[in-house]
Symmetry: C2
Subunit: 294 residues, 2 copies
């Protein structure tokens, strides 16, 4: 690994630690079953890439770090809620996540439904809390945009399309791209634009960055689903192939998918070129998405 990549991994790991600490203080106590399940879902490690994008986009505009940690914690709560619900038997029916039992396996389905529900709520509480230090006008804007990113015309809508696609003919490339832009891209989009909102700046370049990043992330997921090692990924692999679902690999082939992902990380890097060296870590994050093994 060259020095830049080493530096990126150090930065990613530092943000992960800081966000984990922040989340630990924001989550309810583990003394109740619901609190314990929520903590299990959120504090289980993970790359914290969405949090990293939120923190690094805020750093471009010299946003106070405590405010950026709020948006980073909120995006991880929404991401964790979506994983808890996606893992349910009525959805993807997964028993393992990040190398540990999923919430409905460690507890039960009812607890998993409620833990996911309460994690989504917590995301809005984290953003809108008076003690966040965020200007209330920006809190309202962040919450509104997060709701758009997470809701029926965003992440939840993408997940619904994904489930519908399982019982239909495989989607074509355009529909798969649209679906993933909702399911994965919308939340990356919010993480990226949150820094610009906090910095009272135009979020458009960061939205373009995140659209390319999110799609490259999903393509890499599809490649890892075929090539990857379940132990390293910490979750079940090869389930898309088993279900006959369209993936970027089934649509473009392995080489085609790699080429497409490479184009996208070039686009992502170009989108943040107006920020110069302040966006260095966001450019490295795009490279990481393209090369990651888990």
């Amino acid at each position: 690994m060259d020095a830049q990549i080493l530096q990126f991994h150090a930065a990613l790991s530092q943000v992960a630690t800081r966000v984990e600490d922040a989340l630990s203080g924001l989550l309810p106590s583990p003394e109740t079953k619901l609190g314990a399940a929520m903590r299990h879902a959120v504090l289980g490690g993970g790359k914290r890439l969405r949090a990293f994008v939120a923190v690094e986009s805020a750093a471009i505009f010299r946003v106070p770090p405590g405010q950026a940690l709020r948006t980073a914690a909120a995006v991880e709560c929404v991401h964790a809620y979506s994983l808890v619900h996606d893992d349910l038997p009525c959805m993807d029916d997964d028993d393992v996540r990040r190398g540990r039992p999923t919430v409905h396996k460690a507890w039960d389905e009812a607890t998993a439904v409620l833990a996911g529900d309460a994690l989504q709520t917590l995301a809005f509480e984290i953003i809108c809390a008076p003690q966040s230090g965020i200007d209330p006008r920006l809190q309202a804007r962040l919450a509104w945009r997060l709701a758009q990113a997470a809701g029926a015309l965003g992440m939840a809508g993408g997940q619904a399309l994904d489930i519908a696609a399982e019982s239909a003919a495989p989607l074509d490339l355009d529909h798969t791209t649209d679906l993933q832009a909702l399911k994965t891209g919308a939340l990356f989009g919010w993480a990226a634009e949150s820094g610009a909102i906090l910095g009272r700046s135009d979020p458009e370049p960061l939205r373009r960055y995140a659209a390319a990043l999110g799609l490259a992330f999903q393509i890499r997921d599809d490649i890892l689903d075929v090539e990857g090692d379940a132990d390293e990924a910490g979750k079940r692999l090869r389930k898309d192939g088993e279900r006959g679902k369209a993936t970027f690999v089934s649509l473009l082939g392995l080489d085609g998918a790699r080429r497409k992902a490479h184009e996208l990380i070039v686009q992502a890097a170009e989108a943040v070129s107006p920020y110069g060296s302040a966006a260095g870590n966001l450019r490295l994050a795009a490279q990481f998405v393209y090369t990651r093994e888990g």
Copy 2:
């Protein structure tokens, strides 16, 4: 019925129609399965008592009606999301709600999970949308308080305690009261205080009103669960008794439960006495809660 009660029913029904219209415009299109399921869950009628409390508390402070309709619509979205998830097979396993099939019966469990998820998100979107006409500082406060009311230390926490209580010895009166204050009271509390927040006034009297109202509402639910008619209620009854759960009727007896509910509606009326005749409909709402048949 006397003239006051007739006037109250006219007001309740008028608010229900206005909120239903507002919700219809705020919900996603029925063209997708997710949008159709969300509309089925929210637009299925219901008394709209939480919406009524939000609208009437706002009217005390002469809040513009369009703003009050936003909080009313938001509280109905959160209420509907909680019903959709509570009805799931892993929770209460109910097939009928408001006289119609529950979302997981009309569609499937995955759609019910996602429709509930997206309805919660929509509540925050409705409150924080720039086009709501609400001062962004008040949007942030409303969203923060809603998150507290709906989350792990509010409604979702109450539901988790309720599920845990099913596999334990029946709760005593204090624990049952605490549980219901979270499960039912917290959201009524937000509906009541939302008017004071929009009116930049002290929310404390309205919070006290809602705490008494919510508890009286739950006691009446327990009485109807024993005495009521399933057709009129539009849902399955007598399930608490079958499960050996503590209810206000099992703890206090029918007469004791009626007396307790009456004390509470007197308390609710006293709490809003500082507002004089402007709180007339809120006092009638408390009476209605005590006498309703469904």
